[in-house]
């Protein structure tokens, strides 16, 4: 833990993502350090989710570089990036609706499973042992989120809050070092947000995670983030501690001023 504190685990260098004339992300640079929680905020259309899409390989950045543990990520396909240690959740929940809760989590072990197609068809010892271990591990993950007793249900049958939790559980099954949470508190009430705050902090300790989160809920961002990046029109408006951000006149004008009650 200590040795990696010096070098950033994730680096964005002048990253641009243009869609035709639309500059969704424009010249964004950011260094994220091990075990940090970094919040990304900004008005609608500021490019927050696009940052996540670029980081997870959905889009290839127009220019600029992304480094993860010193390795360049830019042109790697998503499944390779995810297997290497960056996992994410989705703003609009994207579970595998008809699969069971358990299978939703087990799917996410794909990148780490070693047994081959030959093992699959011959049902070798290696396959059976690994499958048993995965089942065990998946159930333990579900327990962390209080979903173990719902393991057999189709994911679509879960209530909204559980679906959000299952998304995080599924992302953790990818065994990430960096976790990208896209609006994890969307649609939650203040009590639920406080609970989510505790969960995220607990997850960071337990799984030794570095967390980036996109959020509109100031209660969440200001509560747990060590640093906050404010984006506006795809550009970096400010970067600093929650207190600095709260008192930054530019930010207040562009964003927080309208939200603060």
């Amino acid at each position: 833990m200590a040795e990696s504190n010096a070098a950033p685990i994730l680096t964005l260098q002048n990253v641009c993502m243009y869609f035709g004339g639309v500059r969704a992300v424009d010249d964004l640079s950011l260094e994220v350090y091990h075990n940090e929680i970094v919040g990304i905020i900004g008005p609608n259309g500021a490019g927050k989710t696009t940052v996540f899409n670029v980081l997870s390989g959905v889009y290839i950045p127009t220019s600029g570089d992304i480094f993860f543990r010193g390795e360049r990520l830019n042109e790697l396909p998503p499944h390779t990036i995810i297997s290497n240690g960056i996992a994410r959740t989705f703003q609009n929940i994207r579970l595998f609706a008809k699969l069971s809760v358990l299978d939703n989590v087990r799917v996410a072990f794909f990148g780490h499973i070693r047994y081959s197609l030959v093992d699959t068809f011959l049902n070798t010892r290696a396959k059976r042992d690994e499958e048993a271990a995965i089942r065990e591990e998946a159930l333990r993950l579900l327990e962390v989120f209080g979903l173990a007793d719902k393991a057999a249900l189709p994911a679509a049958n879960l209530p909204y809050g559980d679906q959000r939790r299952l998304e995080i559980a599924r992302a953790l099954a990818c065994k990430p070092q960096v976790l990208l949470l896209d609006e994890p508190a969307a649609g939650m009430n203040p009590n639920e947000i406080d609970e989510l705050n505790r969960t995220i902090v607990r997850l960071r300790e337990r799984f030794d995670l570095t967390i980036l989160l996109v959020e509109h809920q100031m209660r969440l961002v200001m509560g747990i983030c060590e640093r906050v990046l404010v984006m506006n029109f795809g550009r970096k408006l400010a970067l600093g501690t929650p207190v600095e951000i709260r008192n930054n006149p530019e930010v207040l004008e562009a964003y927080l001023g309208k939200v603060r009650r």
């Binding site: 997870s56 989705f90 994207r94 358990l102 299978d103 990148g111 068809f121 057999a152 992302a171």
Partner: protein, 326 residues
């Protein structure tokens, strides 16, 4: 548990013994035997179609063409090259391997194209293959390939059926099966939880084509001849009907669909051409009331079902049902 592990191989051995006796001693009316063989052959085909159309959720119409590859390759081999009847399984295997390669080819457009467009591409594959076969004289042209040794019997159908069911079951309950169904549910989400989409699609299309190829080989050796017209629109439609009738993404459903359709076609034989109308009406009714087929997405699992009824550890039993039996 131990009893169960022991029971399945025993049943398979008994099954092989019975079918062996049936095929070499003529204990049963040849007509019934023929129908049983059709059911087995079509079940293998439907399992193959179900892998792509049911589990992977890609609407493909390539199965007739793939079946033709299996039927012609194995037919040509056993007629001209591996003429010894003892080499029959090898002919089927090689035919299925040729079909597997054609499955790899069909999987390539599925990386980019989806939905109706992919259906049209796969339909194109089937029709191109049919025209090729019609115009290649060395495989008999439009008249078809005649005098293929009639090596298919109920025993071989049974053996291949057991292999097919076991293979599909093992596949579905593995990381590949899970990623296959995840792609069906949400391809982008699957990719973003580390599933290798291309690899999974190639594997599923290949495996699917292999099984369809086996069924094609068995069919041509059952009828002792094969012609391009066998693998046209009628075969495309019948394959789909059996999949939708029995159930999407279901192994027992694949058998049910193949059995029901085959029997129905035989029972309605006195109606002549009208039986196709009865079949189509039946399909419409099923589509209205059970759009994913009689056993869509589920399996007949008698053990887990009984345990659930007796409520002995019902949560565990429910889990087992959800996993399609462990």
């Amino acid at each position: 548990m131990r009893v169960k592990n022991f029971a399945t191989p025993l049943l398979v051995v008994i099954g092989i013994a019975i079918t062996f006796a049936l095929s070499y001693y003529g204990l049963v009316n040849a007509y019934y035997l023929q129908i049983a063989q059709y059911v087995g052959i079509y079940t293998i085909m439907v399992l193959g179609i179900n892998l792509v159309n049911g589990y992977l959720g890609i609407f493909s119409l390539g199965h007739a063409g793939i079946m033709a590859v299996g039927a012609y390759t194995s037919g040509l081999l056993s007629k001209y090259v591996l003429t010894d009847p003892a080499l029959f399984p090898l002919c089927i295997l090689l035919g299925a391997t040729a079909a597997l390669i054609s499955g790899f080819v069909i999987s390539i457009p599925s990386f980019k194209v989806r939905g109706d467009y992919l259906a049209i591409i796969t339909l194109g594959f089937t029709l191109i293959l049919k025209s090729l076969l019609q115009n290649m004289e060395f495989v008999g042209g439009a008249r078809g390939l005649r005098n293929i040794p009639g090596n298919t019997n109920i025993m071989w159908v049974f053996i291949w059926l057991v292999i097919a069911i076991a293979a599909v079951r093992l596949f579905i309950n593995s990381k590949y099966g899970r990623s296959t169904m995840a792609i069906r549910e949400d391809e982008i989400a699957a990719e973003l939880v580390s599933v290798n989409i291309k690899k999974t699609k190639i594997v599923v299309f290949g495996f699917s084509a292999f099984l369809i190829g086996v069924s094609g080989g068995l069919l041509s050796h059952l009828l002792s001849y094969t012609n391009p017209n066998t693998f046209g629109y009628a075969m495309i439609a019948e394959g789909l009907i059996m999949v939708y009738l029995g159930g999407m993404a279901s192994i027992s459903g694949s058998f049910l669909g193949a059995a029901l359709w085959t029997l129905l076609v035989e029972i309605l034989r006195p109606l002549g051409v009208w039986r196709w109308i009865v079949g189509a009406v039946l399909l419409i009714i099923i589509m209205i009331f059970r759009p994913s087929g009689l056993l869509g997405g589920r399996e007949l699992n008698i053990g887990a079902f009984l345990r659930q009824i007796t409520r002995r550890d019902s949560a565990k039993a429910a889990l087992e049902v959800a996993n399609g039996g462990k």
